[in-house]
Symmetry: C2
Amino acid sequence: MALIVQKFGGSSVADAESIKRVAKRIVETRRAGNEVVVAVSAMGDTTDELLDLAAACTPIPAPRELDMLLTAGERISMALLAMTIKGMGIEALSFTGSQAGMITTAEHGSAKIVDVTPGRVREALDQGAIAIVAGFQGFSRDSRDITTLGRGGSDTTAVALAAALGADVCEIYTDVDGIFTTDPRIVPQARKIDAISAEEMLELAAAGAKVLHLRAVEYARRHGVALHVRSSFSDEQGTIVYDPQKGHPKGEQVEEPVITGIATEKSEAKVTVGGVPDAPGKAAQIFEIVAKTHANVDMIVQNVSAADTNRTDISFTIPLGDGRRVIDALEAERETLEFESLQYDDQIAKVAVVGAGMRTSTGVSAQLFRALYEADINIEMISTSEIRISVVTRADLMDKAVRVLHTAFGLDSDTEATVYAGTGR
Amino acid sequence: MALIVQKFGGSSVADAESIKRVAKRIVETRRAGNEVVVAVSAMGDTTDELLDLAAACTPIPAPRELDMLLTAGERISMALLAMTIKGMGIEALSFTGSQAGMITTAEHGSAKIVDVTPGRVREALDQGAIAIVAGFQGFSRDSRDITTLGRGGSDTTAVALAAALGADVCEIYTDVDGIFTTDPRIVPQARKIDAISAEEMLELAAAGAKVLHLRAVEYARRHGVALHVRSSFSDEQGTIVYDPQKGHPKGEQVEEPVITGIATEKSEAKVTVGGVPDAPGKAAQIFEIVAKTHANVDMIVQNVSAADTNRTDISFTIPLGDGRRVIDALEAERETLEFESLQYDDQIAKVAVVGAGMRTSTGVSAQLFRALYEADINIEMISTSEIRISVVTRADLMDKAVRVLHTAFGLDSDTEATVYAGTGR
């Protein structure tokens, strides 16, 4: 008997009809002889509606109370899902994050899981019941308060439960068929990836792929949890995210592709601090000031200093929403930093090419630069990891860059991918 | 420093504007130097909306899951109320029934409070915070599950907290100005009662007065909790429900009125089992059968048996909703019970006159019967307690009966009462 953890997002349980459809799938998995644990998000727009209510009551809601408020969302979806399954004749019990033993830090809105003690979930399984667990939420032993895990929290709940229970697989249901070589809305010839290593998935998620949340992928990799990303609208196999330590699910002999996928990100801006004195410690000063704004710096590029002036340019990318704060903070320190100019550019896009085969394959970056050059696409910034190359281009050239690279690295499929509405979150 | 428990029902927190109004009142009570604990119901129609959702998912929702679902309602209202108060600069913390120590039996949907351990509420007060507690909900130690208290549950939560914390008063906020001598929609000259003893309030609530729930009044009487029923729309004093052991709040010398109030009930039906053999044990047989249907029998009347037939009629009243079940159950046993006829009458109303002064005052029933006789109102059933006389009349004569008795017992006010929309629940 296998133990399967299934995660359903808000769009999969948006209304009574969707809940019944999801319940049916869960019951089928149980009837096939598996033990089933389900992590579920709040219904459709519930979270946004609760946030609107909070905003109507007070301008800056207290984080503790906001968590108390938002966790009502999963309480509703999980109870409805459990009663629907029970109505189909299969025993089911719902558990809040606290009841399911999701022990977290006390940071409201972005709590981290510190321990998982799913004793009641295990008991429910032992009694033959399906356990329905509220995603996104936990409980802090220190503050004795209800917490939430922040964005992508329900994926993380599912993965953490799978790890703690020693599940055979954690199925992440979404509204797309799996992980694609790139966004099918940009490249209709994008192919569904049958299997991808956790480290490649991590690079893709970090570079902007939206289907799986970075944190959940990290958790899965750290605990060796196999993920299966698949559509809640079909019975087709999706994408297996496997632990490279345990090898490819189809056997060791499968050769790793040089490039597995291409991720894109349009929600960043580039800041260029121009004419910075090329003296030790200047870069540190700049990024200390940026760090104080809590902006999340992604790529950093420093040009070679011009010999005649002994000054250099430092460019970096940050999320669009942090732009104002970062620019204000740097302007306020212009005299200390002694820079000559400050540029802010929100018309950029990032394209990241990821593949574990890059490690053993030479010439990938050359191939990438040539493909973009031949398509007349200028590269403004470059950053690389062992298995990833990211480039920054003009925003309006992003789609073209992705198409060119998708073809250049032989990722194009013969058929066009089915694109569902929604975002998969 | 006084400790005040305040209860706000769903209509008082129906939207963001109402929540802000309620928050303002709570903050004023705190700023006046009191410790404040608040019990709050779910917003407006939330509970009904959740019930509709459940019904759309499955025909007979599992009680455990239904409780899990419904308790999301107070979680939303209490979190919004707490964050609104915090936004006004006063510390506030919300607590679920479980966090507030509302320990109940495990009966889902109608759990009874078995213990109240409000340690966290007390801590919050000691830190100078206002504690906002979810009404209607609790936690069973036996099943480790979330429970709900059933109808009127939020009143009961407030009273139980007041008892456990030794509060000076438990204020029940509603959309009417207090307890009236009778329903002002029937008798515009109804007077607001300044003070009423708990035993009188209990009789009125049991006889159909809707402002306070019977169970909360019972709990308050048993634990000596003083209630103050007042409007959330005005600052006027409402009605004090006092412990008769401790005496009238205005001093012992106040003479108890003979009649304090008149309650009405239109949601009952009368069943008459005709021609029952007048033999020992027949009535017991009948009511054993009725008890098996779980119908709540209210009044019972047995006529003297006719000497020639040695048969008698037994009439009783039951809630309208139980009618079908009771009639079917009796018909099924017609041969065993040997009755001659079975009548069902849903066009009846009950009028109950309540007053602690009845104990020491003679002639109250004579006065009542005469007043109704002179108004041409026939009495079909009578039942009495030490401080109450209830009569059953035709439903279409109920309003007239109430007006006649209100005048006969000198309850009429010189001015007309203000009637708000809504029901006060």
